[in-house]
Symmetry: C2
Subunit: 313 residues, 2 copies
Amino acid sequence: MRITMEEAADKLMGAKSLLITAHVNPDGDAIGSTLGLAAFLQARGKKAEVWIDDKLPKNLAFLPGYDKIVRPQAGQKTDAEILVILDTSLDRIGVVGDAAKGLPVLNIDHHVSNDEKADYLYNARRAATAEMIFEIVDHLGGGFPPEIAIPLYTGLATDTGFFKFSNTRPETMHAAARLLEAGVRPELVSESLEEKPESVVRGQAAALQTMELSYGGRVAGLYLDKDLATSLDTTEGFIDFVRVIEGVEIAVLVKCMDENFCRVSVRSKGLDVSKVAMKFGGGGHIRAAGFSVKKPLAEAKKDVLEALGEVLK
Amino acid sequence: MRITMEEAADKLMGAKSLLITAHVNPDGDAIGSTLGLAAFLQARGKKAEVWIDDKLPKNLAFLPGYDKIVRPQAGQKTDAEILVILDTSLDRIGVVGDAAKGLPVLNIDHHVSNDEKADYLYNARRAATAEMIFEIVDHLGGGFPPEIAIPLYTGLATDTGFFKFSNTRPETMHAAARLLEAGVRPELVSESLEEKPESVVRGQAAALQTMELSYGGRVAGLYLDKDLATSLDTTEGFIDFVRVIEGVEIAVLVKCMDENFCRVSVRSKGLDVSKVAMKFGGGGHIRAAGFSVKKPLAEAKKDVLEALGEVLK
């Protein structure tokens, strides 16, 4: 059942003991919105625990409350009255679903892809779930002490790419401004969010060595062979290093995980690359798409560049 | 003579024809604040020209009014009534000073280092000069059409590192929010601001190959020999690639421009590196300092690491 922000606030205020969770593989918005909400409810004299069924990213350890997040065991049960799911639907909370079996579920999530299976769903077009929690706390007149402000600001900053993405609304920035008024220091949050293991930076350096420009500089690519691709923990964000080159309209990352299996990511600054992904049996949006090619690196690269050439026409 | 924001607004409104300039080597705030102010004055029926004595960065070409910026010739004269200098003092405007010789000078600048030589100086602690222009336009009830809003937003975003730096005040973000309300699209501004020539990205890749960690990962360095250092157009931002590594407390960039001359930049996450700079005859702040060492790369590196070791103790 879809409910309004005011109704969601009433549900939260109506419970004495709440279990709060978010999606597995949690990011700054998942953890920021759960910690911000938990701190607010605790300040109102409620029992509010955060359980997340996954490892937590180390670069969020600066968040107040991070150390109190519980990673539940299989079979572990909660004695809370209500389960509050943030930033995802029921299907991505791991064993927390079993731990709270039978409890009413309040779901607060900004994703349009929400499965709408919760008993009570507050879903709205916001940049981050943290923005929805900000509005609830503000509506309830909670004020923003650091243990609420820092996590909520981190959620906003994460999901908007530090206020750069197109989902950044004026209201998002006004909310961030009010959290700065409450004492959040943006340079400390950004310093923590930007932290990376040494191995990732070395991986970036190695990947950048493979950079090639095609079509007179309109396409920039990184082409990782099996040795390099399988040695990397992550390639997240690598494509952005070549996407920013002047004159580049399409950036592409090809990484071959096996002799005959290459994963391909494509980003454009406006041209429709979803067509290319569909041609190879993948999917995505106009400006960001992904697919795989069951060929060795050299052949996969040739096929991909040929297809991108069609988009440039 | 120091004046207030209201007095600066009166000075602007009192003139019919204004010449606006900013510092040589202009950045997003220099160009953003001049273009925003010029567009506002033109909307009020005034003649307002922007002259800047330098090449303009290509990645700012998306700004409305960019094409109308004049690069004056030596000896060229203006027929304006007043010279308005933004984002710098009198000493960094190149030949525009001669072009406007004898005119009254109104200086609007957020830098604490302003030389206070202008006839009228409005100087205040703001994140960007664009924030001061925002306040003036707002005070005069100008509204923010795109040709004013986009340049001012770009100035704010440039000088705050997209709202990440410690100079970002709540008011700065409220101002940015109001510019988004006026229709600025942050994803388009950031995409333009982030653009780099291919050569710079290739330079980053080459520089990253020299990465070394010292003191158990507490210091991360890039060490560029003469061949590499002199082949690069810029090393701006390179140090940030290693500064973000987990566990790194000090990042250092050593670039040797000649056999016996190395430039050194140091960044810390809190430790006082200005002491190291002073030891080598340089200067800076607690978290950012620079100096030079008149030795070959290997020796300069050894000396610098030794000095940084003292800071780590």
